[in-house]
Amino acid sequence: MSIEKGTLEIKALSKSFIVDGNPLQILNNINIVFPAGAFISIVGSSGCGKTTLLRIMLGLETQYEGDALIDGEKIVGPGLNRGIVFQDHRLLPWLTVGENVAFGLEKLKRKEKKLIVDEHLKLVGLSGFVSAYPSQLSGGMAQRVAIARALASKPEILLMDEPLGALDALTRMYMQKELERIWLFEKISMIMVTHDVEEAIYLSDKVVIMSSRPGIIKKIIDVPLPRPRDRASSAFMQIKAEILKEFHLETEYPFAYAI
């Protein structure tokens, strides 16, 4: 049986960083499959290793125990089959918005490039900004350009590290809708780190809850709701409560010990 393109698999993965000469365990025995075409969110407190996990899947971190597989093969480095929206937008300040979006399209002809750039800027609602510089954009706009750049090179899997973190509440809800639309349209796998539980439920097939020190997967919650989802529905609220409960336990224990 061949594995469908766009599948990511993490097997018994543990990761330590050397801090002050001593190994500090960041991820502990992570096991998870991101099926092809699924939208999966990862939530967890700050510092629990979400970015580290994404970097491993991207191929920027290669020192770890266990396995990280893409389409059944070991990840040995970055590749154009995976796109990334970094936690910082990471646009190049010396390139225009258009040139930034075209960053992964080096091999294409000018015309094709322009077509793809226009298409993707339209997708993120920034058509008029092709020749603006990143310094002229707001944080949220920059993040949308970063999304356009990641999508432009047509990855099988899009990894996103808090892609909507810098947006105001309204733009954020609009972009969530857009992301869903893009996901349904492009039919690619999406893996998104977020701090916003509602966002995770609104967009995801599954929500992965991580807890920290060292980072483990605490629970994976299915979201079997029909799309587009209604944030006010009782089923939605129920799932939200279920996820928040997991966080409560985490924050309540230290208090219990302190008392």
Partner: protein, 260 residues
């Protein structure tokens, strides 16, 4: 309205010192406080300067000097850029080259003149070599540090999109190091110009501004010496300003960032 008067104020404040100096100069010379041998009056000097340019081909000497600086600067900055780039890109290259480079750098540039003249003779070559050494150091150092300080984030971005070697250097390293390289170029322009004087004064010849100033000293021709110095000053200023202007134009993206 306010902006315009601010602007005029700025212009005027720049002119305060030159005007005061000119006045003092005029008073001191016309009052006979110093001999006109040591300091001709502004009027006399002006007449002399005009004559110098019109009748005595001073412009040709300027062009000769400019040519020397241009060649020296080009050779020094191109090699310095490549050298700095190499050390910046490769830790191995740095380990091998940097210690020697830093030791050699301790020799004041003028200190090389005797050796180079003994090797090359009193020809045009040693003058250009001296100027290129002067241009070499700042470019090397600034290119090196510029390349080394390219942020890890941008390097990762290059890796994510599969940029390798030349493409990586062209699309990530050089643009990121660009401001630093431009600083190096500006410094090199200044250094080349300064070293031109040394090259013309210490490696004797018959043409060039430095040589004219030297001739003025030998003949006790004070107007020639002063005109020479003023010319050197203004040309240096013009070059630095031009270099800065070009840098600004080239650095268009960053210029916008500074504005906002």
């Amino acid at each position: 309205m306010i902006q315009i008067s601010e602007n005029i104020k700025n212009r005027l404040s720049t002119l305060v010192i030159p005007i005061v100096l000119l006045l003092v100069w005029q008073i001191v010379t016309s009052g006979g406080y110093v001999s006109s041998h040591f300091l001709p009056s502004p009027g006399t000097l002006f007449h002399y300067t005009v004559k110098l340019f019109v009748e005595q081909g001073f412009l040709l000497h300027i062009l000769v000097s400019l040519k020397r600086v241009l060649f020296g600067f080009l050779i020094g900055s191109v090699t310095g850029f490549l050298f700095g780039l190499l050390m910046g890109l490769s830790k191995t290259a740095e380990k091998i080259l940097a210690p020697t480079f830093h030791v050699i750098r301790q020799v004041p540039i003028i200190g090389w003149i005797p050796l180079i003249v003994m090797w090359c003779g009193m020809t045009e070559l040693p003058r250009i070599i001296i100027i290129s050494i002067a241009a070499f150091y700042p470019i090397t150092l600034n290119t090196f540090s510029g390349v080394r300080s390219v942020s890890k984030e941008y390097i990762e971005l290059g890796a994510v999109y599969g940029y390798k070697r030349l493409k990586f250097i062209r699309k990530i390293v050089l643009p990121a190091a660009f401001p630093s390289i431009l600083t190096g170029i500006s410094l090199s322009v200044g250094m080349s110009w300064a070293m031109l004087m040394a090259a013309e004064l210490f490696i004797e010849t018959f043409d060039g501004i430095g040589t004219r100033i030297q001739l003025g000293r030998e003949k006790f021709n004070m107007p020639l010496v002063i005109t020479g110095i003023i010319t050197v000053g203004f040309l240096g200023l013009a070059m630095t300003l031009t270099a800065e202007k070009i840098a600004k134009v080239l650095d268009r993206g960053r210029a916008i960032r500074k504005e906002s």
